[in-house]
């Protein structure tokens, strides 16, 4: 999130997201030309000669232009989230106008993660053959060998259960809402298990919601497909999130029953979304696994019986005693929807936008209506203003990302400049990327003056060079 902002310091204008370095890289490069700060200890050195005081209204940002960029037939939008493997961005299918999400995987990054490339390959193979309303659908896979990038086009989701929980004070859902999600989770899980797939990483963070409120089990990165001739669901590896792991994995058993792993994680998930707590905690992973290994936990008193019994059944230390999916589906709590008493927890806004509008629209507006991308008046604002917006609770909401205002501007522009909507030139064929030097990813900016210079991105502070420092 932090590496992709809507603004850049004025001295550095890089429009190409390729140049955005990872957080670590940025930090490491940022200070590489600075000497170790040993001189600060010099008695006679006045610190102020090295660190100029810069008022927040003297740091000026230029609002980043929304340049339309396409990958195959998909128009790129803004960032939706960031996983360990790469970014997830919104895209729009330019032919069907259907919103989608794309997971961008960089091979360079994958190599650094243990089993990274393997996990991705496995996820693609698994997702391709799956089709169920409660399992995220993989719609398209694009590969750019030159850039060593892979794009997984998936169904669009507006948010995940984890973000919703975090947006509420008590970090939990009303029972009726949790019940709805749990039932869908069980439907999806039953399908996965029927396809001989063990998810191994069920948790609120991997349960996403579509605009229609349909729950989608996502992130099959560590899932395992059982061998077709396997006698039972015995597994040997577990890679999921620690807090959701069952005792058999926490205790380091060599082999364990796969389906029951998902049942346990679903139990922890149900515990979490109904109480706002975790059944097992620990200061570090060792403590946590120690606690899970003991299998002792308390359910808060406010959780009453049919649900209490279900949680106990799902969180049985011995996998053989743990409920099966069929037992869960026949459980009284599962069968009966709790009364809709408390107010529904909504999906929290994305960068201040409660409606979760298409983030691709501003790029399309720029593409179709701004006559000459270079001539557009650059917008400037200061650090001071930015802080003020942030204080007013418009966190991460900067002018470039405010739809209504932008449209109003665009409309005003159109009237005053008498500029006309531009059509896609016919030679910029959608998806017809072969014409473009086999480059799958291209910028569809009308004028050819696109900057490709690789500049080093820097934070706004480092822009201000320290002249005394340089000399020493």
């Amino acid at each position: 999130m932090g590496s992709e902002r809507a603004e850049e310091p004025i001295h550095i204008v890089y429009s190409d997201e390729e140049n955005v370095l990872d957080e670590e890289e940025r930090n490491s490069r940022l200070f590489e030309d600075l000497e170790p700060a040993s001189w600060i200890n010099d008695e006679d050195t006045d610190v102020t000669t090295f660190f100029h005081r810069v008022d927040s209204d003297q740091i000026i940002y230029e609002a980043k232009k929304k340049r339309c960029k396409m990958i195959g037939k998909y128009v790129m939008g803004d960032l939706l989230g960031e996983g360990s493997y790469g970014k997830v961005k919104e895209v729009l299918d330019s032919e069907t106008l259907c919103r989608k999400a794309v997971k961008i995987l960089k091979k360079r990054k994958l190599r650094r993660i243990p089993n990274g490339e393997q996990n991705v390959q496995r996820e693609i193979v698994l997702l391709k053959k799956l089709q169920h309303p409660n399992v995220i659908g993989l719609l398209d896979v694009l590969v750019n060998d030159e850039k060593e990038k892979m794009y997984l086009v998936m169904e669009f989701c507006v948010g995940g259960l984890q973000d919703m929980l975090e947006s509420t004070p008590k970090k939990r859902f009303p029972l009726w809402q949790a019940h709805g999600y749990f039932c869908q989770l069980m439907d999806g899980l039953q399908y996965l298990h029927s396809q001989r797939i063990i998810h191994k990483d069920i948790k609120p963070g991997n349960l996403l919601l579509t605009l229609s409120g349909i729950l989608k089990i996502s992130d099959l990165g560590v899932a395992e497909a059982l061998d077709f001739f396997a006698e039972d669901d015995t597994c040997y590896t577990g890679q999921g999130s620690p807090a959701f792991q069952p005792p058999e994995i926490a205790n380091g058993h060599e082999k364990f029953l796969g389906f029951k792993v998902d049942i346990w994680s679903s139990g922890v998930t149900l515990y979490n979304i109904t109480t706002g707590l975790y059944p097992f905690e620990g200061d570090n992973i060792f403590r946590l696994f120690e606690n899970i290994g003991k299998g002792e936990y308390v359910i808060p008193d406010e959780i009453e019986n049919p649900l209490r019994d279900l949680l106990h059944g799902m969180l049985q230390k011995d996998a053989n005693d743990r409920f099966t999916l069929q037992q869960i589906r026949q459980h009284p709590w599962f069968l009966r929807k709790p009364p809709q008493t408390l107010e529904e927890v909504p999906i929290p806004p994305l960068r201040g936008d409660e409606l979760h509008n298409m983030t691709v629209l501003p790029y399309l507006m720029d593409y179709h209506y701004v006559e000459d991308p270079a001539s557009g008046q650059p917008q400037y604002y200061t650090e001071h203003e930015r802080n003020a917006w942030a204080e007013r609770g418009e966190q991460d909401t900067y002018p470039t990302e405010c739809y209504p205002r932008e449209w109003a501007d665009q409309l005003g522009d159109l009237k005053s400049k008498e500029s006309s909507p531009k059509k896609f030139q016919d030679d910029v064929g959608y998806g017809n990327s072969n014409k473009y030097h086999g480059d799958d990813e291209m910028e569809t900016i009308a004028d050819s003056t696109k900057r490709k210079t690789k500049r080093r991105p820097t934070s706004c502070i480092s822009v201000k060079k320290f002249p005394p420092c340089k000399q020493s």
């Binding site: 507006v158 500029s419 006309s420 909507p421």
Partner: protein
Amino acid sequence: MVSLPENMTPPLSCDNLGGVFGPDPTQYAMTSVLGQCCDDAGQVYLAVYLPTNTPIALKKFNMDKAKDEMDNIQNEIILTRQLRHPNVVVINAAFVLDNYICVVSPLMAFGSCRDLLNRHFTEGLPELAIAFILKDVLLALDYIHKKGYIHRAVRASHILINEYGQAVLSGLRYACRLVKNGRWQRNVHSFPSSTSRNLNWLSPELLEQNMQGYNEKSDMYSLGVTACELANGMAPFQDHPPTLMLTEKVRGFAPVLLDFTTCPQYSDTGQQNSNPNQAHGMPSDAINSGVGDSVGSNGNSLEGGGLASRRFTDHFHRFSELCLQRDPEHRPSAAQLLLHSFFKLPKRMNAPPLPQLLHPVIPLTKVVLGTESSEDFFGVADRLSDLDLNTCEWDF
């Protein structure tokens, strides 16, 4: 031109035209192709139901070609069978033959409105004919909405006209339910699948796909676009790439009925080449500076021609504007629109029935087909297939 006998009245419902139809494939004799539908996965045939010697329309879907559409087709058959309204398409029988799904419907003698526009009325239908057609479509929409469905594909090719001049709404395979788990939803959010061909008719709120969602008022917007299509001869946004169509709608640019009041420059010079779609809501000097050039003219023969002399009534203009409002809350419901003054025009102007307004189009009636003797029938059918009918959209 075969005119209707004076005393001939349309039947209450078009499903009692030919009595009972069986699902036995051998009882249907296909004669000629009427048109394509569903992206070439389906073909519409003129056929005869042999036991009663009744001409019918038979739609064949190739199950191998229409894999993605199978769910939609299945839903269409199930839904259509549940509906019963004189202005909603009827399915008499549906069966599987080899790798085809066959759907039997009454023959619509005038074909679809898109056919009429393509073949005879390239500059648009007469206003009174549109009033007749849209009134029937509104009756159908009112019925469908009250049943808890949103049609999501109202367009000229989904409006069929039978020999009595009744308009019948088809294309129900894109419909979705507004009632979920027994509860009437305020809004739904699902984006229709395989809807690429309908995009130009869809409402801005449906296309936006945000948390607001959309409801049955979305169909009213599509009806407004259809009104423009029927009046102008070509569908609005026809030459726009989908993404430009999207931004135009989101910004609130609505299509308009093209006559000299909406495009005044035609009456002056008659040679301006800017796109009339852009004219609405733009300062007039912007138009004269050739703003619309890059959008491209659509090659419609209206330009500089019939447009200068044509004038739609204010009633019609107001009707389309009501439908095409950006905010769905402001759009009237189907029931409210049925009371609009536009629909009082035919009576006030003493309009003849629709078949006469469509003169010189010859409907495919029994009389024309001469089904009295089946030999003649096949003869006519052969002649029909010589005609250039394959290009027509008979999408129902």
